[in-house]
């Protein structure tokens, strides 16, 4: 099989070849991008994080800085989430996606560390998660989530955390590929 083509036609036939090369590139990039960390597409309703950002602008590295408690956010009666056996007023975390969590959720009584290392109460074995990645500290007005200077960030909905943020019932947040949901019953 030999193509007998004029030079002019051959000259233009190089474009399909280049096009194929770039289709390959685009497809390969798409396949690879799917595995990168970034804003997670959470199965969540809107969580407008901006309005609840706490007044401390210090990004979490100074982990021991006490978080000032702002004026309580009015409203937001607790919704009826979680198993009905729960004690009212109890706080817990549900693992929504990315990891197998305990069936009855993670109780939230003491501060919780999220990270890749073994000394974290919530250990996430994922190379995109930093050793000590994020911390959730319970408080009377609701728990405060802060990023501990992680490389790939802690995400509240679509927003990357820049300072400590107070969670409300039903908020989704993500550490690496794992999505959590905060519940208050």
């Amino acid at each position: 099989m030999t193509l007998e083509l004029s030079e002019g036609l051959l000259y233009f036939l190089k474009y399909p070849l280049l096009l194929l090369l770039y289709v390959f590139l685009a497809t390969a990039l798409r396949a690879m991008a799917a595995a990168l960390p970034g804003p997670k597409e959470l199965a969540t309703h809107q969580t407008p994080a901006g309005r609840r950002r706490l007044p401390t602008p210090s990004p979490g590295r100074t982990a021991e800085t006490p978080v000032p408690v702002p004026a309580p956010v009015p409203g937001n009666p607790p919704e009826a989430f979680g198993p009905t056996t729960r004690i009212p007023g109890r706080e817990w975390l549900e693992v929504v996606a990315g990891m197998e969590g305990p069936a009855d959720g993670i109780p939230l009584q003491a501060p919780i560390l999220f990270g890749r290392l073994a000394d974290c109460p919530v250990r996430i074995p994922d190379p995109f998660v930093s050793g000590h990645h994020a911390r959730l500290t319970p408080g009377p007005e609701g728990p405060v989530l802060e990023d501990l200077g992680s490389r790939n960030g802690t995400w509240l909905g679509q927003i990357r955390l820049e300072g400590p943020v107070r969670l409300q019932d039903g908020d989704h947040f993500a550490v690496g590929d794992v999505t959590f949901r905060y519940h208050r019953t």
């Binding site: 099989m1 193509l3 030079e7 280049l18 194929l20 390959f24 590139l25 497809t27 396949a31 799917a34």
Partner: protein
């Protein structure tokens, strides 16, 4: 989220590029009466798909992007080699290259069928080092001299370039050695009272001396650059010390300067790099022809078989990137560079996901190896660095290089297949 494109689709695209390219190259060369490309294309397609099928059957958890990326580079490289064959008077070049690629895929498959675990390599680190040093010394003393450099062994009709094997042996040795002594080096670096980290400096000095030795004794700038770059990258990866790397880079600069003034062959190479048009018919001939070829390629190239890349000496090995840039244009050349980038990114990702420290260092070392080799060679052909005699991974004509690179791919696949969390799709 949209479904992730599969490796199958990518392999199909590679096949389409190969078939369309072969038809175009044959038509473009019709004046030279080229041999039919179709037996070779059939061989390549068979090898690619057999490799894809067997690798997924044998170790399904492996990184499924490795094979599409490398076979694309092989295909594009083969198209240029096939196209150059009739023009430089050896029409069988394409067929021979197809056989080398098929053998490379065979090596890849065999490396997947070796029983056991890649971690076993760690126990052979000193064997690797000794074999590497032995091969390197042997080729210095008994190698066949071609174009003023002793880089090859001649076995009948086949030329064997030990550098290609030595580089992989070196990565295995460095990964195992640095994993074992990483903390020891770190402790030495942390020594109090501002004492000099003598042991670490000794190691760095040793690596530097080896690279300079290769440069002086073997007259091989590319190999010296590759070895030292590899050594520094892996030293940095395992210790994270930027100051020592900077210090070594300065040392390397000083060494190069001294070599430049002491040795004529280095001066000639650098001269041909800095000003090829000072002697366009002599020392600068290859480089100036390469620049003309790059310029005539332009943005979209001349089309396969329509350019004159055969005017550049060694266009099918060292200067294959220039041949590509002339006939596929800047668009094609940049596209191929992006494929190299993806391959290296992917190898680093395998390093990140590897279940153990040795795997991480090994995969990262192989990634830096491909990256350095591509950078040094492409830089040399587009006049960003002095030209050196190493091959472009997966594209240049040559058996040793093809087999070694597929072996590298096999090791990467093995690491990705046993990672703590599977990396493939």
């Amino acid at each position: 989220m949209s479904r992730r494109p599969s490796a199958f689709l990518l392999m199909a695209l590679v096949s389409a590029i190969l078939v369309l390219g072969a038809a175009l190259a044959q038509a473009g060369l019709s004046r030279l009466d080229p041999p039919s490309p179709w037996p070779s294309v059939g061989l390549l397609l068979g090898a690619f798909w057999a490799g894809w099928l067997l690798s997924h059957l044998r170790r399904p958890a492996g990184d499924s992007m490795l094979l599409p990326l490398s076979t694309l580079l092989c295909s594009v490289g083969w198209l240029e080699v096939y196209r150059l064959g009739p023009a430089i008077g050896s029409p069988a070049l394409g067929e021979r290259q197809a056989w080398w690629i098929a053998l490379g895929v065979l090596v890849f498959i065999l490396s997947l069928f070796v029983p056991g675990d890649y971690r076993a390599l760690e126990d052979y680190k000193y064997s690797c080092l000794l074999t590497g040093v032995f091969l390197q010394l042997a080729v210095m003393l008994f190698g066949t001299e071609i174009n003023g450099a002793r880089l090859w062994f001649e076995f009948g009709p086949v030329l064997f370039q030990p550098v290609e094997v030595v580089k992989i042996l070196l990565v295995v040795f460095l990964a195992a050695f640095l994993r074992q002594f990483r903390h020891w080096i770190r402790l030495s670096l942390l020594s109090p009272e501002g004492r000099l980290p003598r042991k670490a400096l000794l190691l760095l000095g040793l690596g530097w001396a080896c690279a300079e030795g290769v440069l002086v004794l073997q007259k091989d700038l590319g190999m010296a650059l590759l070895l030292f770059g590899l050594f520094l990258s892996m030293f940095f990866l395992s210790t994270g010390r930027r100051d020592l790397v900077a210090l070594s880079a300065v040392l390397a600069g000083v060494g190069s300067w001294v070599c430049y003034h002491l040795f004529g062959h280095v001066r000639v190479r650098v001269g041909a790099w800095l000003d090829p048009f000072a002697d366009p018919q002599g020392q600068g001939y290859q480089m100036s022809q390469a620049l003309y070829a790059l310029a005539s390629g332009g943005l979209d190239g001349s089309g396969l078989g329509m350019g004159r890349p055969f005017l550049v000496p060694e266009a099918y090995t060292d200067f294959i990137f220039v041949a590509l840039a002339e006939e596929w244009g800047m668009l094609g050349a940049v596209g191929v560079l992006m494929v190299y980038m993806m391959l290296v990114t992917r190898a680093f990702r395998i390093a990140l996901w590897a279940g153990d420290e040795f795997g991480t260092l090994l995969a990262a070392g192989l990634a830096t190896l491909v990256a350095w080799q591509t950078l040094i060679l492409v830089g040399g052909t587009v006049q960003l660095a002095p030209m050196t005699g190493i091959t472009l991974p997966f594209m240049s004509y040559g058996g040793s290089s093809m087999l070694a690179n597929f072996l590298l791919l096999g090791i990467l696949w093995r690491i990705s297949a046993v990672g703590e969390v599977s990396g493939g799709d």
